[in-house]
């Protein structure tokens, strides 16, 4: 049987984490697989897990009744899926769907939040890994929002 603690330790997101903390996280981990097209989770559902992607690709999507789902981001091996498990009311804000057969480590959110509450040092170590991802995604969203590649000619005042 595969040692999930080792998998967590070697995943890019947790690389370098104190072995004591890795052992604690290993208690909350499960190996999961998704077929292409399967949802990891859907908007509005309870955010009960977050995922360390090991293989495959996952799309984050927001459903829209007339235009079909908007694909916001794709994620792959070495990246994480799911941030809402950390913030009340612990509900997913978008859909996550496997684009190809995907393998991940699912970390149980309830188990994890309990351990973070009990051990602030573990909480801080996890936050140190989460905050850069949050900032990176916030910056990416800003870049997407300002639509940097739009034709300036479509804007008023274009001269050339």
């Amino acid at each position: 049987m595969e040692n999930l603690e080792q998998v967590v330790k070697e995943h890019a997101f947790f690389r370098g984490l104190d072995p004591r903390f890795v052992a604690l996280l290993g208690d909350c981990a499960a190996d999961v697989r998704f077929d292409a097209g399967a949802f990891l989770f859907r908007e509005g559902d309870p955010a009960n897990h977050f995922y360390l992607v090991r293989e495959g690709r996952v799309a984050l999507e927001m459903a829209s009744p007339h235009a079909g789902p908007h694909r916001i981001q794709t994620l792959g091996a070495g990246e994480i899926v799911g941030l809402s498990w950390f913030v009340a009311p612990y509900r997913w804000a978008y859909d996550a769907r496997a684009l190809e057969p995907t393998r991940a480590v699912a970390l149980d959110a309830l188990c994890l939040r309990g351990k973070l509450d009990e051990d602030p040092a573990l909480g801080y170590a996890v936050l140190q890994r989460f905050v850069p991802v949050l900032i990176e995604r916030l910056q990416a969203t800003r870049l997407q929002m300002i639509d940097v590649y739009a034709n300036p000619g479509a804007k008023k005042g274009a001269r050339r």
């Binding site: 799309a59 999507e61 235009a67 079909g68 789902p69 908007h70 694909r71 916001i72 981001q73 794709t74 792959g76 070495g78 684009l99 990176e136 910056q139 990416a140 870049l143 997407q144 300002i146 639509d147 940097v148 590649y149 739009a150 034709n151 300036p152 000619g153 274009a158 001269r159 050339r160």
Partner: protein, 276 residues
């Protein structure tokens, strides 16, 4: 003093016009004097639509047959709109080539990462072609390309050809897409982390909107690429293209003359200054 003839364009014929996307065309211009035109990847020409005006346009390659110069132009205003409307056989004025090119010799012996955003792929295409033509001179070569939407991806066929090669990594992402797009979605800076290169011996060549370039530099710096090994293609209001009129002044540099390709450590302090 600049001789007046330096400002006189050469009348040149369009030998083909190919639509790339809804608003972007690649024009092939007849080679001057029937000879293969000499230029350095990264340089630009001033293209003059008679009776309308003149704009700087990067050279996006050499035609595989005939040796004519390629210019990829987006209809963004009256002049570029007039140029993209030109058909085969039409005449336009050409001055150039001008400016600095990509540091292809300087990059030899190490890894090379090209990061392009939107139309920024056009000036990087001849650089990648040159890198692949002299492939043995370089370590790993990667092209990271971000476009707005799947239908706005430039040079799609050539990207697919490059991607089939085993000696170059090509990653493409789009900012916005529906579920019918099967490629990557996200900003081009996210590709930097996924690309395979040895940061300590990597030269980066970056072209795209300035905001995109600033964030790309941040991602490359985080990956460990040295400031002195990052090169950006800048765009300012080029008019004379001879470093004379001052319209394209960017701090201590004229972008038309000292640029458009400038080393990041030279322009680092100016890049985010909104007053420049």
């Amino acid at each position: 003093m600049i001789p007046a003839e330096a400002m006189v364009p050469t009348v040149t014929r369009v030998t083909s016009a190919r639509r790339e996307t809804a608003d972007t065309w690649t024009l092939e211009l007849e080679p001057p004097g029937g000879r293969k035109a000499a230029y350095r990847p990264g340089q630009f020409n001033m293209l003059y639509a008679f009776g309308v005006g003149e704009v700087p346009i990067s050279i996006s390659g050499t035609a595989r047959r005939g040796g004519g110069l390629l210019h990829t132009v987006r209809a963004a205003g009256p002049v570029s709109g007039a140029i993209t409307g030109l058909k085969r056989g039409a005449a336009l004025g050409v001055r150039g080539p001008y400016g600095t090119g990509w540091p292809l010799d300087e990059a030899a012996g190490g890894d090379v990462v090209l990061v392009a955003g939107g139309l920024g792929l056009a000036p990087l295409r001849p650089a990648l072609r040159a890198l692949l033509a002299g492939r043995e001179r370089y370590g790993r070569v990667a092209l990271l390309y971000g476009a707005r939407r799947p239908e706005e991806i430039l040079f799609r066929r050539e990207l697919e050809d490059w991607r089939r090669r085993l000696d170059v990594e090509v990653e493409v992402t789009v900012d916005h897409a529906g579920a019918d797009w099967h490629g990557e979605v996200g900003v081009v800076t996210a590709l930097v982390r996924r690309a395979g290169f040895d940061a300590a011996r990597t030269t980066a060549m970056i072209c795209g909107p300035e905001v995109m370039m600033r964030f790309t530099v941040a991602a490359l710096r985080q990956a460990g690429v040295d400031d002195a090994r990052m090169h950006l293609s800048m765009e300012r209001n080029m008019k004379c293209a001879l470093g004379h009129c001052g319209h394209c002044q960017f701090g201590a540099d004229f972008v038309c003359k000292e640029g458009p390709v400038l080393r990041y450590d030279r322009i680092r302090e100016r890049l985010a200054a909104r007053e420049i």
